[in-house]
Structure formats: structure tokens, C-alpha cells
């Protein structure tokens, strides 16, 4: 059933259908700022302008109270006009989705109308932020609407699928309900379709407002606000081989928002969690973070995490959002599934995305950066604005122990069992002198500076602030 908790836990609303577009739009926008873009109609879509935290926005909402929100030519035209208006007026556009898709009675005309909506979204891509909030089933054409936007937020009653459970069962025999097929678990953890899983419709609006503010009110770097000197290295375990969760480190580097919890708005938190992507503020300025998470898969890069990162990098580049790249990566994840799954093709997307990005992008190596993953994580040659490292960091083809086992395989094999450990230890020390740490990397200029972890906020903010502000001239293809 589509009706959610609201009607059972809020008795005062039982006689008012909260799914009415007027109410949903009013719940999203600043009070008293809603102005419809068109006269009331039977189109199944309401479009309006208004404000979010004072920022001018355009919003549209499907009418879930009428034939499940299905839309035809008129409704789609309202959406197209809303999007085109947003582009003209240079403001974000937010779509509230609860729609069964095309109105069957309108046949091909409805299909054509949906296609026009997609075309409008693609015209707008990268020009103005487009945010989708999925509040109920968004099926068929209504699934591809959110898919073409920059950020997709899903409320608990939200469902997204191209073909629903009935058709799935009749064609493939698979038995699954709407929630299983296209709800929070499906799209929050398996598919990556949804960026933010909200825990209520109200929360979905809060998150949409937050993302809108981050994208539309990016602010300026205030370097006086980054002078704090917490020792961030203390957040990492003492043992260099022990994995840790990168998220507390990210939150310590970014500004803490005293007004709301969750100052770091993470995207796709439970999908490809071995890399963390999301928006926050650094010295007051909206900044995108891309960070390996050692706690997940050792922080390895793989097909999905590379793709996730690449799309996020391109989104930030489209909107002129500078990037902070935090690196602690042992390499790419080996395996047949990875290779056959196209880690080569999908990893290449990340190389391309970073290299193409013209926004300021600063890399900080926390502990290690090895091999191909070193290259992919915004290295110097891909055009990083600056590359910093904490004192114990290692940048290399691989770790010293692994390198020695390959380079000196014969020597070690020839040694006796008693001698071998000491010999190996000596070879490792020698190898580290030649190739270890960041000394070599610094001598060839691929690491700019080793920094005191306590100065991290200041150093990275200054480097981002000093770089020429750029903004990519491409759209945000859903990579």
C-alpha cells in the first residue's frame, strides 16, 4: 500500500490528503513563498516557484491523488516548462515524484511527452542542480526522470522500477514485491540509483533542502575559520595495517554545522561503501569529498567504487564545487568478477573524470597510495591542484614487503629458513630507503608537501581557495 505512516499517526490529517501536490510542494519550500507557475489544471503535475532557505528554486510535483500520479502530455509539458524556466532563471529545480508513469489512455502521445521531459532534463544537466525526491512508486517513465537528475532522494514509501512486480512475475517468474524490487534496500545498497535514503517524507524534504543549499549557496572559503589544530592523525589506529572508518576523519576535516546534525551529506552511503562521496562545507564553502574507506574492502578501488567516484567528481565539476580527495588505498581489488565486470572500463571513468575536472582538487594521502589506485585518486599527473601527505604516508607501486618478495624472490629463496627473516627485514629497509615513504614521490614532484596532520583543515582549505575557481562545461551524465 502506498499510504504511509502519516495517515495513521497524524489523526488531524486524515481528512486532508497529504499527497496533494500543493501540500507536498508547500512542505518542501519556505513557508509563504510558493507561487504556482500555471493555472490549476487536471494535468497530474503542479509546478511552482518558491524559495529554499531564501534561495529561489523551481519545484514540480506529480499528483498522486489522481490515477496514481500517472502523467500525459499536459503534465509532462508542465514539467518541461518548469525545467526550462529553472535554466532560464538559473535556479535549482526539484522534482517530487510519485507516479505510475505514462497515462495509458494517451498512448504514444504520453510516451513522447515523457521523452520531452527527459530531453529537458538533459538540456538542463550541469547547468542548474536537479534534485529528485521519490515519495511513492515512480515507475516506468517516472523512473527515468529521477535517474537523469543529479541527486535522488528516496522516502520510505518511495519505489523506483522500470517494470513492476506483476510484469516481472509474468515474464521471468521471479516473485518479489514493490519494496523488494525498487525500495530503499534495492536502491540504497544494490543498485546505487538513490543517493540519499531518508527516514520519512519530512526527512526527505530536509535532505533535499540541505542539498539545494549546498549546491545553490556554495559560499566562499573563510580561511579564518580553518585555523583549528586538532591532531587528526589520532583518529587513525596506531598499527598502520589496521583498517579504520574514514568517516570520522572526513567529519573532522569538514566544518561542523552547529545548526543541524549531519554536516556531511553523504551520497550512496551503502552502495560501493569502499569509497565515500558527499558534500559538506570547508571554511564555509561547499566542497565535495572523495575518500577511500579502509574499513570496507580494505579501501580497495573496484568497478563500482570507481564508477561512483567518477560520477560524483563530474557532478562537482559541473557545478564548480572544489574537491578534497582523501587517499588511503592499497590498490585495486583483484578477482575474476572484477575483471569480467569491467574494472578496466569502469576504472577508466575515474581517471577520465578527475583529469577532465577543472575545479580545484586537492589530494591528501593519509597512509598509503599504491599502484594504479595511486594514479586514479587524483594524482599530480591527472592535474591535481596540490598533493599533500601525512608524515607516515607511503606512495609507491606497492608496499615494501610485497615489492621485496618480488624483486628479491631468488635471493630470499636461496637463503636458509633461519636466515631468511633477517634478510627480508634488511631488504625491506633498503627498499624503503630507495622507494619508500614519500621521499621519492616528493623528489619527482608528485607529492608537494608533507604536512602536520593538525594543520590539515588549514592547508587543504588554503590550497583549494588559492586555486583559480573553475567550472566544467559538461553536463552530468548519469555515469
Amino acid at each position: 500500500m502506498m499510504t504511509s505512516a502519516r495517515t495513521t499517526t497524524s489523526p488531524s490529517l486524515t481528512d486532508v490528503d497529504f499527497r496533494r501536490p500543493q501540500l507536498r510542494i508547500a512542505a518542501l519550500l519556505d513557508e509563504g513563498t510558493v507561487q504556482a507557475l500555471h493555472a490549476p489544471d487536471e494535468s497530474g503535475v503542479l509546478a511552482a516557484r518558491g524559495r529554499i532557505n531564501g534561495v529561489r528554486v523551481i519545484a514540480y510535483c506529480t499528483d498522486a491523488t489522481t490515477i496514481g500520479g500517472a502523467m500525459g502530455a499536459h503534465g509532462c509539458r508542465n514539467i518541461v516548462e518548469a525545467i526550462d524556466t529553472a535554466v532560464r532563471e538559473r535556479c535549482p529545480v526539484i522534482g517530487l515524484w510519485h507516479s505510475g508513469g505514462a497515462r495509458l489512455a494517451e498512448g504514444v502521445e504520453a510516451l513522447d511527452a515523457f521523452a520531452q521531459v527527459f530531453a529537458a532534463m538533459i538540456r538542463a544537466s550541469g547547468r542548474v542542480p536537479q534534485i529528485s525526491v521519490v515519495l511513492g512508486p515512480a515507475a516506468g517513465g517516472a523512473a527515468y526522470g529521477p535517474a537523469l537528475t543529479d541527486v535522488v532522494i528516496m522516502a520510505p514509501a518511495g519505489r523506483v522500477f522500470v517494470t513492476g512486480p506483476e510484469v516481472v512475475r509474468s515474464v521471468t517468474g521471479e516473485q518479489i514485491d514493490m519494496e523488494g524490487l525498487g525500495g530503499s534496500t534495492a536502491h540504497g545498497t544494490k543498485s546505487g540509483v538513490v543517493h540519499i535514503i531518508a527516514d520519512s517524507e519530512r526527512d526527505a524534504n530536509v535532505r533535499a533542502r540541505r542539498v539545494t543549499s549546498l549546491l545553490a549557496k556554495p559560499g566562499l572559503f573563510d580561511l579564518r575559520a580553518v585555523q583549528d589544530t586538532d591532531d587528526l592523525r589520532a583518529l587513525l589506529p596506531d598499527r598502520s595495517q589496521r583498517a579504520y572508518d574514514i568517516k570520522p576523519v572526513i567529519r573532522k576535516i569538514l566544518d561542523t554545522d552547529v545548526h543541524e546534525s549531519g554536516a556531511f551529506e553523504e551520497f550512496q552511503a551503502k552502495w560501493a561503501p569502499n569509497v565515500v562521496t558527499g558534500l559538506g562545507r570547508l571554511g564555509g564553502r561547499t566542497t565535495g569529498v572523495v575518500a577511500n574507506n579502509p574499513l570496507r574492502k580494505g579501501g580497495c578501488l573496484d568497478s563500482l567504487s570507481a564508477e561512483k567516484s567518477a560520477r560524483f567528481v563530474r557532478m562537482c565539476d559541473s557545478f564548480g564545487i572544489p574537491l578534497l580527495v582523501l587517499v588511503d588505498v592499497p590498490g585495486y581489488l583483484p578477482g575474476v568478477e572484477q575483471e569480467w565486470g569491467g574494472v578496466v572500463r569502469r576504472g577508466a571513468k575515474l581517471l577520465h573524470a578527475f583529469s577532465e575536472a577543472v575545479v580545484p582538487r586537492v589530494t591528501l594521502v593519509l597512509r598509503k597510495s599504491y599502484g594504479g589506485a595511486y594514479i586514479a585518486m587524483n594524482c599530480r599527473a591527472l592535474g591535481a591542484t596540490a598533493v599533500f601527505a601525512w608524515p607516515e604516508a607511503e606512495v609507491g607501486v606497492m608496499g615494501a614487503k610485497a615489492a621485496v618478495s618480488i624483486l628479491h624472490r631468488k635471493t630470499l629463496a636461496a637463503a636458509s629458513d633461519a636466515e631468511r627473516p633477517a634478510l627480508e627485514a634488511q631488504l625491506i629497509v633498503e627498499h624503503e630507503q630507495i622507494a619508500g615513504g614519500v621521499a621519492r614521490a616528493m623528489s619527482i614532484g608528485v607529492v608537494d608537501e608533507v604536512i602536520d596532520p593538525a594543520t590539515t583543515r588549514q592547508v587543504v582549505a588554503e590550497a583549494l581557495a588559492a586555486a583559480p575557481a573553475g567550472r566544467g562545461s559538461h553536463g552530468n551524465i548519469p555515469l
Partner: protein, 84 residues
């Protein structure tokens, strides 16, 4: 899987399967069956990619059962423990 705040109580009693996210060797068992674990507390420590990777509880709960012992090799997706 259940969602929504009105189902939170029910959700707390639903078993959560903790699975390996990478091929690894079980290096250390960090919690005992019956132990109450906090969110973020390690249950098992895996060894892979030359690192010790703690596998932690995503939500607080009771460790109902362990599916592995020290030294076991696990594939991606293998069950490590069940939390409730």
C-alpha cells in the same frame, strides 16, 4: 526488510547477517556469542590486502552466532555472524 520509524522496534529483533565484503582470512574473533555489541564494535577481524580489517556491527544488538573460526578463509559474501 522493514523500514519506517513505527517499525523500529520490530526491526531491532530482526536478525542481521554480517557478511564478508572481501575475500579474506579470519584473523581474529573479537566478540563472543551472546555478547551485546554497540554500533561500530568489531565482531571479527579479517586479514586481506595486507591489512587487518575489523568487521563491525552496523547497529547495536546481541551477537547470536558466529559462523567462522580463526584461520578460516572466507569469500566475498560469506556469512560471518548473526546479530539481533
Amino acid at each position: 526488510m522493514l523500514a519506517g520509524s513505527e517499525n523500529a522496534e520490530l526491526e531491532a529483533r530482526v536478525a542481521e547477517e554480517i557478511r564478508a565484503d572481501i575475500v579474506a582470512q579470519v584473523w581474529q574473533i573479537a566478540a563472543t556469542e551472546g555478547q551485546v555489541v554497540a554500533e561500530g564494535e568489531p565482531i571479527v577481524i579479517l586479514e586481506s590486502m595486507k591489512m587487518e580489517i575489523p568487521v563491525v556491527a552496523d547497529v547495536p544488538g546481541t551477537l547470536v552466532s558466529l559462523a567462522v573460526s580463526e584461520g578460516d578463509v572466507v569469500q566475498e559474501g560469506d556469512l560471518l555472524a548473526v546479530l539481533e
